[in-house]
């Protein structure tokens, strides 16, 4: 077995559960079909995903053709995420043969959590856990503007019991929130999500501070492994903090 496989399993499972939890909190149907976890709202292309198909060996071309057919009719979401693990190589070839194109790639990263994780204190940068509706609204506004570029998050979702394992944090300098981070825990594994900083406050180390804060809080929560998916813009920061890439998460789209 590929020694990276346990980490890839953690990366996939945490992201799938994260999307499912948010989907349920947002009243978006969450299905399991065709060996995939689907978070799907008919007519909404984003964030409707088909996640991490598990396809029996020998069935790859049939799966790809069926997925293409169902995406064309709108029965399943427009975007399909696969990791480039060894077990998926044949499937990925078949997806491309069926007309799917890779359009975005994230770096699937992980590390163990140990005592060395600690966020530096600062007189000027104040951090808090997001626990009240007003702060949730500010958090959602920042993420909607800087990450989604659309109004997808609503402060009300934070109250949902589906998000009991989701813990969000906000950082501010002099006025409102300027930087965010969060973790979503599954047992001993915490996935880091929504790490974002306002453009006017970047290049001051705030993203690093917020990442370390989320890691520190995940440790207090009893987690001993961390996973995340990073764009190329964020990968260098996470490598500096000790994360290692174990896979690529490839987002496939079916044109037309």
């Amino acid at each position: 077995m590929n020694p990276a496989s346990p980490y890839i399993d953690l990366i996939e499972n945490n992201l799938a559960d994260f999307y499912s939890a948010w989907g349920k909190a947002m009243n978006i149907p969450v299905y399991e079909q065709m060996g995939m976890r689907l978070v799907y709202a008919k007519g909404r292309a984003w964030p409707a995903f088909a996640l991490f198909p598990v396809v029996p060996e020998g069935s790859e071309s049939g799966f790809a053709a069926l997925a293409a057919e169902k995406m064309t009719t709108g029965e399943i979401p427009s975007f399909l995420i696969c990791t480039n693990r060894e077990e998926n190589k044949v499937l990925m070839n078949n997806l491309e043969n069926a007309g799917f194109r890779p359009v975005t790639v994230w770096s699937g990263m992980a590390r163990e959590l140990d005592e060395s994780v600690r966020m530096d204190e600062s007189d000027h940068f104040h951090t808090r856990q997001v626990q009240d509706p007003a702060m949730a609204a500010e958090f959602a506004q920042l993420i909607n503007r800087e990450v989604f570029r659309a109004s997808l998050l609503d402060a009300d979702y934070f109250q949902s019991p589906e998000l009991a394992s989701f813990h969000a944090f906000a950082g501010s300098l002099n006025e409102g929130i300027c930087s965010t981070s969060s973790f979503f825990s599954q047992g001993a594994t915490a996935g880091l999500y929504f790490i974002a900083t306002l453009p006017s406050r970047r290049r001051q180390g705030l993203g690093r501070r917020m990442t370390l804060l989320a890691m520190q809080e995940a440790k207090k929560h009893g987690c001993n492994k961390l996973v995340l998916h990073a764009t190329s813009a964020g990968r260098a920061l996470y490598e500096q903090i000790g994360f290692v890439e174990y896979c690529k998460l490839v987002i496939y789209w079916l044109p037309g």
């Binding site: 194109r101 790639v105 503007r145 970047r202 813009a233």
Partner: protein
């Protein structure tokens, strides 16, 4: 003086992002253009492959986070 490739790329950006007056530089990135979010980035990639008759590798897709990075990758591919 912009190159032919830069002009073609800018036209694709203008069409996909629905910004007919968009002017970019090599340093322009999604942070500078609110409309250049993750969904429109997907549309941009798909349009570039179709218009330029190229295919991007996974490593190239990971690096396409600015106009300059996209131009560098396209220049190496000598698009049609």
């Amino acid at each position: 003086m912009p190159t032919q490739l830069e002009i073609r790329l800018q036209n694709i950006f203008r069409e996909i992002l629905k910004l007919p007056a968009l002017e970019f530089t090599r340093g322009t990135s999604p942070s500078d253009v609110p409309e250049w979010g993750s969904l429109n980035h997907v549309r941009l990639i798909a349009a570039l492959e179709k218009e330029m008759q190229v295919r991007f590798t996974l490593d190239e897709l990971m690096e396409m986070n600015s106009v300059g990075a996209i131009l560098d990758i396209l220049e190496k591919k000598n698009p049609q």
